[in-house]
């Protein structure tokens, strides 16, 4: 995947200003790459127009996989490969299987969810996370605009939009 390397950054001091700015910038036709904040800002996803995360679907599918694996494993072991009678029960006592099935469902759902999240947010071990501005981990909100993504709009125009929306600084940022 070819990665975009040239960005314009708007730095904001205040979350309310930021939320208004997101609306203004989007209204002016500029596409926002991503906004980085030091803490969760309520309502930011709404103004950015993000769709809800599909992570729960991944969790559900991994959970189902865990259920199937657990039941298959126990049935193969206890009923097919080496049938045993324990406590006078059937070879396949389903109630006895529930705790293991539950545990494997939870295990795979959570592992799968963490894995999918890591990969989709570029936190995978071989990934190179990009830090736009170190201050976004401290006290500044950073709005990143991808220049390649806004080819029809001049750079100066984008900067002007950011400036007028209340940014305290407007910077350029390039990645190798």
């Amino acid at each position: 995947m070819e990665r975009d390397t040239n960005f314009i950054l708007g730095i904001y001091d205040d979350e309310d200003v930021l939320k208004d700015a997101v609306t203004k910038v989007r209204d002016s036709g500029v596409k926002i790459h991503e906004v980085y904040t030091p803490y969760p800002v309520h309502g930011l996803e709404d103004v950015l127009g993000y769709r809800r995360s599909r992570l729960p679907i991944a969790a559900f599918l991994f959970g189902m996989l865990g259920t199937c694996l657990a039941l298959t494993m126990q049935l193969l072991m206890m009923a097919v490969d080496w049938p045993m009678i324990i406590g006078g029960k059937d070879h396949a006592p389903i109630p006895d299987f529930i705790p293991v099935t539950f545990e494997l469902t939870v295990l795979l759902a959570s592992f799968g969810m963490v894995g999918v999240f890591m990969i989709s947010s570029n936190l995978k071990p071989w990934g190179q996370p990009r830090i736009f501005d170190l201050r976004s981990t401290d006290d500044k909100h950073v709005m990143a605009i991808d220049i390649a993504n806004n080819a029809s709009i001049e750079e100066a125009k984008i900067k002007e939009v950011l400036q007028s929306s209340g940014a305290s600084e407007v910077n350029n940022k390039s990645f190798e």
Partner: protein
């Protein structure tokens, strides 16, 4: 920015005549069904098959003995035993009034639980310093209005029908060497009769009931009055005061809810015991109480009250209902699995009595489907928890479902083969339920609907998830 004081904080719930009428209609239908039920069981119950192990045949039919001894002896045959016991003719042991009082007891325990859960959930909000639920605090505490009625009904029911409901009240069980001497129950006798002689007046048991209800009503009044005084005077000192009383109440409730579950429900099957029974009954109460709180809140919201209560708060209530449905199932299954796996006769008789019965067998599965499978599947998605229609369906289902749960705990041990869900059960549930709703809503309509000087009201308004 919108501010919480823009809302009408002095609103009161107007308990309109139309609403009263529809509740009375439900109660009326219930009463009619109840009367039909009484007439049908007057005619139908005379052949009098008696319950396995716990019926009154010990008193009424001297020829019928030794089924407790049989229990201990035949592990593999215990289901034969249960069936055999059903065949026993317990002459004259059954009367329609017995079924009436068993039903009354089911509803007594169930609705007393829902009432105290309202107070409990209120106390939780303060102990946890939670702000999200501030708009519906008054809904929770209003459930406690039922407590005094519940206390009276329970005590009266015990004194009228104690012998029908509780096997351990029969005094010949404690006569050593007597024909009906029961060593196991004799060993547990002190729990009911201390300090008096076993088989006399169960002063310890009655005293516990009186003390628990006394404490619950005291704390309900204390918390309610502090909350209403806050409306008049404001300031944060009330909040700290309520938090302190809430914390004390929670400790007391933790102990008293468990013991009341042993007393009122588990002692019906006197031989049998389960160490997590207190939790199990609590979980059943809790999820039914949460569903009731949700339904009353939705009802208020649809009538235009509680403007600041929005889908974010509904989402939280939905998560509680969803989560505690699973919690109840977890306890149900924990109890079941250990008994099933160990297969010790004196434990497994509890499930065999229910599963092998044509009256109750199906309800075990109805219970699990209504209280676990359906709520779990319906409320799993985020959208379902944020829309009233799903919650209305699921909460109604859960309230009926947990009635079935209590039905399964009480009836097999009291009525045995004569029980089952009929007109009497449905009628009594509807009648009793509508009386409870009347009392709770009347209490709710007396004072302000919103704790207007609560320090976390602003937080509730901005709640967003």
């Amino acid at each position: 920015m919108a501010h919480v004081t823009n809302f009408n904080l002095d609103q009161k719930f107007d308990f309109t005549a139309a609403l009263k009428k529809s509740i009375m209609l439900m109660g009326g239908i219930g009463a009619i069904l109840l009367v039909i039920g009484i007439f049908t069981s007057m005619g139908g119950g005379e052949h009098g098959h008696e319950a396995a192990g716990h019926g009154t045949e010990h008193v009424e039919a001297p020829a019928d003995h030794g089924d407790h001894a049989a229990e201990a002896g035949h592990a593999e045959e215990s289901d034969h035993h249960a069936e055999a016991a059903h065949e026993d003719e317990g002459h004259g042991g059954y009367h329609w009034s017995k079924r009436f009082f068993a039903n009354l007891w089911i509803n007594n325990v169930y609705f007393a639980g829902i009432a105290i859960i309202g107070v409990f959930f209120f106390a939780i909000q303060y102990a946890a310093q939670a702000g999200w639920a501030t708009a519906i605090l008054r809904v929770m505490i209003s459930f406690g209005n039922w407590l005094p009625f519940a206390a009276i009904l329970m005590i009266v029911t015990y004194f009228i029908a104690g012998h029908d409901l509780f096997h351990w009240t029969h005094h010949d069980l404690f006569v050593e060497g007597g024909a009906h001497y029961d060593k196991i129950i004799d060993g547990k006798g002190g729990f009911f009769y201390w300090p008096l002689a076993k088989g006399s007046f169960p002063i310890f048991w009655v005293a516990r009931m009186v003390i628990f209800f006394g404490l619950w009503i005291f704390f309900f009044n204390k918390l309610k009055n502090l909350s209403f005084q806050e409306d008049l005077n404001g300031g944060t000192s009330y909040w700290y005061n309520i938090r302190k009383w809430s914390a004390i109440f929670l400790v007391i409730f933790a102990v008293s809810s468990s013991i009341s579950a042993w007393d009122w429900v588990m002692s019906i099957d006197t031989h049998w015991f389960s160490t997590l029974f207190g939790w199990y009954v609590f979980a059943s109460w809790f999820v039914a109480g949460l569903s009731s709180i949700t339904l009353v809140t939705i009802m208020l919201k649809e009538r235009g009250y509680l403007e600041m209560f929005n889908e974010n708060h509904l989402h939280d209530l939905g998560k509680f209902v969803f989560g505690f449905s699973i919690f109840w199932t977890y306890l149900w299954f924990s109890q079941f699995l250990l008994i099933y796996y160990a297969n010790i006769p004196e434990e497994s008789v509890y499930f065999i009595e229910r599963l092998s019965s044509d009256k109750y067998g199906a309800f075990i599965f109805v219970n699990l489907i209504m209280n676990f499978v359906l709520p779990f599947l319906v409320l799993m998605t985020r959208d379902a928890k944020r829309h009233t229609i799903f919650l209305k369906v699921v909460c109604t289902l859960i309230i009926i479902g947990h009635w079935v749960d209590f039905f399964l705990m009480v009836q097999p041990g009291t009525l045995g083969h004569n029980g089952g869900v009929g007109f009497m059960e449905i009628g009594m549930f509807m009648l009793y339920g509508s009386v409870v709703i009347m009392v709770v809503l009347t209490g709710l309509s007396k004072k302000n609907l919103i704790a207007k000087n609560h320090p976390m009201l602003e937080e509730t308004y901005h709640h967003h998830i």
